[in-house]
């Protein structure tokens, strides 16, 4: 919120780090959040500059160099058809980050709209929507995602759709709970007395004011979504080879674990660091935006 920045021109003495940028000040005090931020930036930069960092192509087959050990030429070794694993991890990061963010943001947007509408109007529509969400939540997330992905056909788009569907109910519930509280606020009642149509009240007042918990949930969920994409890839229900996707790489690589330990290990490590980074940042943002959960 840019509006909360205090005016400090007239009070030079009060111009400390705390007042200039309170958000950054709080992040700096939390080493774990800082670590998460560092991990994320690292992965982001590596994936953006992948073609500059690595001379190899992620899908180019080079049989003579298959199963090369980690070395100066191939930092993380090569796989069963001689592709450089480090290169594939870099390009895989592009895919995982992009897919993770897209899926969760998509689920967040759709879920927030459904939840706001459901909570605002109440009554039968609300009951119907919420029972539908309960049905989705009743299944173990991964099982349902697998079922949806398998039904639609194994490819990346369907895996994304499946993960979005299992993520939506959380956002519907969050947004609905906020909406129920906001509906009683006087500024919403005032808008009703002006004669402003309901959809416009939802867009102008309800959704903007219900957004903070949704944003926290999005940052917490991205790591989880990356993990789910990899899981579906590992099970053969997500991205298909030769796409450089972490889960798919581990899926093929684990068979070679005993002889060529580097093949599944490095993609697994990348996955671990990426989901870890997002979770740390999610926790940090929650601590900052939710003063009641403050640790000190």
């Amino acid at each position: 919120m840019s509006g909360t920045t205090l005016k400090t021109e007239s009070l030079p003495a009060a111009r400390s780090a705390k007042t200039v940028n309170p958000f950054w000040y709080k992040i700096r005090r939390n080493p774990l959040t800082l670590l998460g931020l560092f991990l994320l930036l690292l992965i982001l930069l590596l994936s953006i500059f992948a073609p500059l960092i690595s001379p190899y192509e992620p899908t180019k087959i080079n049989i003579p160099e298959r199963f090369a050990q980690p070395s100066a030429d191939h930092w993380f070794g090569t796989d069963e058809v001689g592709r450089d694993i480090f290169t594939r991890i870099l390009y895989g990061a592009r895919l995982s980050l992009g897919v993770g963010v897209a899926v969760v943001v998509g689920a967040g947007v759709i879920g927030t709209i459904i939840g706001a509408v459901s909570g605002y109007f109440g009554g039968r529509i609300d009951q119907l929507i919420m029972r539908l969400m309960d049905i989705i939540l009743a299944f173990p997330a991964l099982v349902l995602a697998m079922a949806i992905a398998a039904t639609l056909g194994p490819n990346l788009q369907n895996a994304m759709l499946a993960i979005a569907i299992i993520k939506i109910p959380v956002y519907v519930r969050l947004a609905r709970a906020e909406t129920l509280a906001l509906r009683e606020k006087l500024f919403v009642k005032a808008a009703v007395t002006f004669g402003i149509p309901s959809w416009r009240i939802i867009v102008r007042h309800i959704i903007p004011n219900a957004l903070s918990p949704v944003i926290i949930q999005v940052t917490l969920d991205i790591g989880d979504a990356i993990l789910l994409v990899a899981t579906l890839g590992f099970l053969g229900l997500g991205a298909q080879p030769p796409t450089p996707e972490w889960g798919a790489m581990i899926s093929i690589g684990w068979k070679y674990l005993l002889d060529y330990w580097w093949y599944p290990t490095f993609p697994g490590l990348a996955l671990f660091l990426a989901s870890c980074g997002f979770n740390l940042i999610g926790d940090g943002i929650r601590d900052i935006l939710d003063p009641k959960a403050n640790r000190s």
Binding site: G3, K185, A190, V192, F194, I196, R204, P208
Partner: protein, 264 residues
């Protein structure tokens, strides 16, 4: 003279499971154009519920409310006669302004309900600037957020918002109850001046006898959902009939005692 707003036999019953609560029962009153009509009673007396029914937030269980002769409620449907004709100022300016909107967006919001041409005309920059200075704020306040203002200033923003559509009728639901005493007088004076300048008609809801006396021409005293006494403010203050009205008046020791001193 035809009343601007007429409330006839209006009742409001809330049901929660088997529990019934009669918030308003069989209330009649009429407000003529240009007057300030006061509605006074303790909390829970149904005065705010009446305000909600007049402004379209709650449908009455029975009875009719007419504005310029046209019924406001058709069953549970609110007939909005002309957008912007009637506005409301709420008690708590902390919660009646959206914290995520700038003052300009807040004040011009009621215009969204108007037809495009009228919206353009009434939302002109000159009108907005004139209005914001009229209620005692500065033009550069338009770009700020509500949390940057004091309670009195916020209520001025709420008043500007109510007046942007040029209403004829304004419901003031305890507009000064949440304010500091020193600020209350300023806001009340502003409301008085605006009423004179713009030929407004007020329905003034309050629990404060002194405020009602200062603001209103006629008043109705409500207790437990019923009107126990209705009449001109001076008559009621000088010669209260109902015992509850007398109790309310005795809550104003200074006024009352002085009067008795004169009589004795």
């Amino acid at each position: 003279m035809n009343p601007l707003l007429a409330v006839n036999g209006v009742s409001k019953e809330y049901t929660k499971g088997n529990h019934r609560f009669q918030a308003v029962s069989g209330v009649d009153f009429a407000i003529t154009r240009g007057e300030t009509f006061g509605l006074i009673g303790e909390s829970g007396s149904g005065k705010s519920t009446l305000g909600k029914m007049v402004t379209g937030l709650e449908p009455p269980t029975s009875g009719t409310i007419t504005y310029e002769g046209n019924s406001l409620w058709n069953g549970n449907r609110f007939n909005r006669l002309k957008p912007g004709e009637m506005q409301i100022v709420f008690q708590d300016p902390q919660s009646s302004l959206d914290p995520r909107m700038r003052v300009q967006a807040i004040i011009t919001e009621p215009l969204l309900a108007l037809p495009a041409a009228e919206r353009k005309e009434k939302g002109s920059k000159e009108r907005l600037l004139a209005l914001i200075t009229r209620v005692g704020l500065k033009p550069d306040h338009l770009n700020r957020y509500p949390h940057e203002f004091s309670g009195g200033q916020r209520q001025r923003i709420a008043i500007a918002r109510a007046l942007i559509t040029d209403p004829s009728f304004v419901v003031l639901d305890e507009p000064t109850s949440a304010l500091d005493v020193s600020v209350q007088a300023n806001v009340l004076n502003l409301l008085q001046e605006l009423k004179r300048e713009r030929n407004l008609t007020y329905l003034f809801i309050s629990h404060n006898m002194a405020v009602i006396r200062y603001m209103c021409d006629r008043m109705a005293v409500m207790q437990k959902g019923r009107i126990v006494e209705i009449g001109h403010v001076n008559d009621i203050f000088v010669n209260p009939v109902d015992s509850y009205t007398k109790t309310l008046l005795s809550s104003l020791p200074q006024l009352h005692e002085k009067k008795e001193d004169i009589h004795v």
